[in-house]
Symmetry: C2
Subunit: 336 residues, 2 copies
DNA sequence: CTGTTAGCGCGTTCAA
DNA sequence: TTGAACGCGCTAACAG
């Protein structure tokens, strides 16, 4: 039943040639008679010959496979990033091997180990919320496996990265709220230590301070798992009687809006809300949620392009590409 | 700079043993002195030895890698399915290689070709909206590469599959609408020929007929790209003055609700709406959209589990697992 | 218990 | 222009 793959050896036998001649013909190397090449190519096509990439990899020491680790696939941003990577991979003849860390540093380290032992040519990673330890990345460096961060990175690790300017996005968003009349803006923040969350917080704080709005540590509440923590976070934040809530992402923005509505507040009349990401739910909630749209697809594309370039040029320099999110203003933050 | 990986040969040299002895020690085979095994294992750990899976694959003829092809990753259902597969893959020591067809039969065929030439051990696929041709799958069969469908399948291709009972889900949904008082239900359908869309349509039609509700070909409008076609489809359907719209999925259900509201209808008062899938937007839209939640994560898990079983048992029988969606009733379809 | 030999499918010398 | 021989890292068969 098992249909053995035809090998270069089979071709050689049928043509009474040596394997090395066949190999040369197949790879379009010079130093070969046009006539023999034609014959080889013809038979190869006829017999449906396909090179064994495994065998080639064993020699080349390259697999044309890139590993990708994301915290959670089922996310608007990361699924779009993967989609972008998929396209670039196709364009350049690479394959993608993926792994999900489930926001766990442990699973992430295990994923890195697994993928690295597969002899991938490079690794693209967006770290989990927990990740602090640089050790797994140092091991990659020792092994000589090129890797890069995309979106969520570890600041203190020397590596290339493609990120989105979270600081600027947050700053723009908060400044917009101020322009719309907010005088007291609070921030439902993400987990401490996560690069993107820290940057958004920094952007929020700078915008608030630049415009002389009130600020205190109480203006910020951190959420680990926002689906769980958000409701309580909002209650805490509302004690400050804010007229604006800047949320770490869109799902939490949606929760905020829903909570405000059920507790008798008017959005945007009493309180304006802005989220972050560009999730589909932001467009659907009522009032529609203003947000900073992250270019997930583009992040994926650019990250893989950069990594492939580094791999193929054997470049050791680190590079950093910073993209920008786009503030999309909807009803939830408009003056009325 | 390049840190050469330590090989079994290096271990052998340092221990003055033969490579085969080392190999046996490493693999915990019998016929080996406990003392030597200990030494080998110790040195291997000390030198950070890692087996070269490429070389092993060349011999075993197995890569412990599964290919996955999905129409669109950035989708609630498929991203959750991938997530489920990722978990099972980890549990069983497999890797996942993925590829997106972008709903194009051509890209899908190319993806199959690409993955197959990578010497994957098996393939999991959910077909594109366009796919009709069975040829790519026959080639897989010839090559002896086990493959399976999940969710969207090609009915006339003999292969195992893990699917969700779309017929039953649609039937339940429409029957629920009838119970809530609908007398004239129309259907915003998916593309013709797509297995899941056809089944949902069948379920809709049977439920309507069972209860003696009016039905005509005009009660159904097909959408290819629902984001584009939905608005027009709704206009057409509304000419029949329905009091219920059963939508092919949640995004189109959301569009329906929004359209109805802006044209002066009350949902669910005048018209009840039910979607399909369980996308997050369904919970957020107002009124919240009733839907049939598809167990995407479980489909992914079960599909990969089944495929791995088939691979490891070299089973040739085809198997079919049918899961069920769950009707979740929200405001958009409640009697009032 | 251990080592020798052969080979997986292919690429890379080097002679011929 | 072609072919023989060797090696990639590892496993498998057999002999010792």
């Amino acid at each position: 039943m098992k249909n053995k793959q035809v090998t270069i050896k089979d071709l050689a036998r049928k043509l009474r040639l040596s394997v090395s001649t066949v190999s040369r013909a197949l790879r379009n190397l010079p130093d070969i008679n046009e006539e023999t090449r034609r014959k080889v190519l013809e038979l190869a096509a006829g017999l449906n010959y396909e090179p064994n990439y495994i065998a080639q990899s064993l020699i080349n020491k390259q697999t044309r496979t890139i590993g990708v680790i994301v915290p959670i696939i089922a996310t608007h941003f990361f699924s779009h990033a993967l989609s972008g990577m998929n396209e670039v991979a196709n364009e350049h003849g690479y394959h993608l091997m993926f792994c999900q860390s489930n926001e766990s540093a442990e699973q992430e380290a295990e994923g890195i180990r697994q993928l690295a032992s597969c002899r991938i040519d490079g690794l693209l990673i967006s770290v989990s919320k927990q990740t602090q330890d640089a050790a797994p990345f140092e091991k990659l460096q020792q092994k000589g496996i090129p890797f890069m961060f995309f979106d969520r990175d570890l600041r203190h690790v020397t590596a290339s990265r493609v990120i989105v300017d979270q600081y600027k996005g947050a700053f723009k968003a908060v400044e917009h709220m101020i322009q719309q009349g907010c005088q007291n803006i609070v921030h439902m923040a993400g987990p401490k230590g996560l690069s993107v969350a820290d940057e958004r917080l920094r952007g929020y704080k700078d915008a608030v301070e630049k415009h002389g709005l009130p600020f205190s540590p109480k203006h910020i509440v951190h959420c680990g798992k926002f689906q769980l923590d958000a409701p309580e976070a909002i209650k805490k934040l509302m004690k400050l009687q804010p007229d604006g809530i800047f949320c770490i992402n869109d799902p939490s923005g949606v929760i905020a809006i829903q909570h405000l509505k059920t507790t008798g507040y008017c959005v945007p009349g009493d309180v304006k809300v802005v989220g972050f990401n560009g999730d589909p739910v932001a467009e659907v909630v009522e009032p529609a949620l203003s947000t900073v749209v992250q270019p997930g697809y583009k992040v994926g594309r650019e990250a893989l392009k950069m990594l492939i370039r580094h791999i193929e040029e054997k470049s050791l320099e680190t590079e950093e590409l910073v993209l920008e999110g786009k503030l999309v203003i909807r009803k939830s933050s408009k003056m009325c």
